[in-house]
């Protein structure tokens, strides 16, 4: 069966990433505009169960390869299978969520098919049978429209949370077509080291972030065995981040950070938000002790509501914030945690 639009279902350890369903929903929109059905490509080992989820999220057909050789994502065999699926269904458009995996997969599949790939799409429209995609460039300072008129399929990767999840139709099913003949993987995954990151930043609906201000709490006296000044600063920052974690827990939020906080060793890099960290679009972004430098804004400006807590009324973060408190975060954050706990009953 020919499905003109293909959604790629990104998965890790057999579970689909949340934004994969956003890609499937977007694929349905494109199919409604250009005609034809939606195929969902699912690759991995022990992923057959995802087919049911894909049907319930709107796929008409699932193109599946479930094999031991596909256990861990490796771009080489995955790209060969996705290219094969695209050729088989004469796909016009391939839509994927944006992740570290799909940047490789999208790029390589585009080479195999000699076609265009548009990463990190935040909006699109369909005009005359082609997708006109919008994506941020220059650290989000500009937006460009991008279209692929000279080749097919146009490959898009969508920014997490920029598109709605489709509604579930329980019990819906469809046909499963098997993809065969993956190329050999060239690399071997030895192991995973957990990041200890908690909630994934890019999927989080709420993010509470800390900047250099988290360490600026002179009232706290570090234990006497910490004599080194740098270590004292880090100790102070850790107390600050523990306040941020408490607030995050009440809001069921992920914890983010500015580069200054990461570079100073307050928190690991996986938490960094910004041009050289993660780009996030949560519903709510609470910035604590963050000045709001342009490079930080590049990673969070598209948050629906920004709340800033900063002791400097002139900090640039207030220019993009909806709500602001000018004050010491070491006093405001715990008080806010307490006030929200009472109101939300958590």
């Amino acid at each position: 069966m020919a499905q003109k639009v293909i959604a790629y279902i990104d998965n890790f350890n057999g579970a689909a990433t949340a934004s994969s369903w956003e890609a499937l929903g977007a694929a349905r929109h494109v199919a409604e505009a250009i005609g034809g059905g939606v195929g969902a490509v699912i690759l991995g080992q022990g992923v057959e169960g995802l087919a049911k989820e894909a049907f319930e999220h709107g796929a008409d057909e699932v193109l599946l390869a479930d094999a031991p050789g596909l256990k861990d994502f490796r771009p080489e065999p995955y790209a060969s299978l996705l290219a094969q699926a695209a050729r088989q269904s004469s796909a016009e458009v391939i839509i994927m969520p944006t992740s570290g995996r799909t940047r490789e997969l999208g790029g390589m599949t585009a080479v195999d098919l000699e076609t265009g790939v548009t990463p990190d799409v935040i909006a699109f429209e369909v005009q005359g049978g082609a997708v006109v995609a919008t994506r941020p460039v220059y650290g989000g300072k500009l937006l460009t429209k991008e279209v692929c008129l000279k080749a097919r399929p146009h490959i898009l990767t969508l920014r997490s949370r920029a598109f709605p999840k489709p509604e579930l139709s329980a019990g819906k099913s469809g046909t499963i077509t098997r993809l065969e003949g993956a190329s050999e993987a060239k690399t071997e995954v030895v192991e995973y080291k957990a990041s200890g990151g908690g909630v994934s930043l890019t999927d989080a609906a709420v993010i509470v972030s800390g900047g250099r201000g988290v360490a600026n709490n002179p009232k706290l006296t570090p234990p006497s065995e910490i004599a080194d000044e740098k270590q004292q600063e880090i100790w102070r920052a850790q107390q600050g981040f523990s306040m941020i974690r408490d607030l995050a827990a009440v809001l069921k939020a992920a914890v983010g950070a500015s580069r200054a906080a990461v570079d100073a060793g307050y928190i690991p890099y996986v938490h960094q938000v910004g041009q050289t960290g993660k780009v996030v679009s949560p519903d709510v972004y609470v910035a604590c002790g963050i000045s709001g430098a342009i490079q930080h804004q590049a990673g969070m400006r598209t948050a629906k509501t920004i709340v800033a807590i900063n002791k400097d009324a002139e900090a640039p973060i207030f220019k993009i914030a909806r709500f602001g408190v000018v004050g010491d975060m070491h006093e405001v954050v715990p008080a806010l945690t307490k006030a929200l706990k009472e109101r939300l009953g958590r």
Partner: protein, 260 residues
């Protein structure tokens, strides 16, 4: 180890950008080496320092892109090559990856090609994987640490930074890898390095020199580029007599506005 590092010339990230008749302008803000590529250069140099060999910096771009190459030379790269041809102008990632892959093949017997995580202008983060695919090499993207490198056995083990944690991957060489900033702290160009770079000969390779008799036209086009509409946000500053009062008011406002 025969090493290549790909560097791009980009506007400074602090530049104020405007769009004039569909073209991006950064006024008189300086062009710099793409900040991510400094980590790639540093890793290339460290690899050479540990295992011997040679590092060649490679850039595709207009004549000005020489400056990015000079920065790489000043940091310590042995040679630099500018890939430049009017035919590459306005090229998309398909075109650029084809040209860079051809240049890497022309240099010959490369063991490792380093890339930055992404270019701060185009923000695509695709190039490493696309060049790898063209060369038939494994792609190792988002590398945060090199755990082991055995030039004799031609294998490398790296830690990749995924959302889900660090993935440890073993790969044969040659390979292409893109690096993230956790991998190292780039050195500053030395005085001697800057002097050496200013005198260095940087050859230009055209499409013909790369053996690309016909450069494909880009498949992507950019019908419109805009500065995002400035959303006027009026920040509501929450005030009160005490911290508790402020916190209570903020919590109420967030709930009222259905923010949480």
């Amino acid at each position: 180890m025969n090493i290549v590092v790909c560097v791009k010339q980009t506007p400074d990230t602090a530049a104020t950008l405007t769009v004039q008749s569909g073209k991006v302008s950064w006024g008189d803000a300086p062009l710099v080496i793409n900040p991510w590529d400094e980590y790639a250069v540093e890793q290339a140099l460290r690899t050479k320092e540990a295992h011997g060999g040679k590092v060649t910096a490679l850039s595709l771009g207009p004549e000005q892109a020489r400056e990015a190459l000079k920065h790489a030379l000043a940091m310590g790269c042995d040679e630099a090559i500018l890939v430049s041809d009017p035919a590459f102008e306005g090229g998309d990632s398909l075109v650029v990856s084809k040209a860079l892959a051809a240049a890497i093949q022309k240099i010959g017997s490369i063991d490792l090609a380093f890339f930055g995580r992404q270019a701060v202008d185009s923000e695509t983060a695709l190039m490493g994987a696309q060049v790898a695919r063209r060369l038939g090499w494994p792609s190792l993207s988002l590398v945060a640490a090199v755990a082991a490198l055995d030039p004799a056995a031609k294998t490398i083990t790296v830690e990749r930074m995924l959302d889900e944690g660090r993935q440890v991957v073993r790969s044969p060489l040659p390979a292409a890898m893109s690096v993230v900033k956790e991998i190292n702290e780039p050195r500053y160009p030395s005085f001697m390095g800057i002097r050496k770079a200013s005198k260095a000969e940087i050859p230009v390779w055209t499409a013909a020199a790369l053996g690309l008799d016909s450069v494909p036209a880009p498949v992507l086009s950019w019908p419109e580029i805009i500065a995002p509409p400035k959303v006027e946000i009026q920040c509501e500053i929450i005030q009160g007599a005490s911290v508790d009062e402020i916190a209570a008011k903020l919590a109420d406002r967030l709930i009222q506005e259905k923010v949480i």
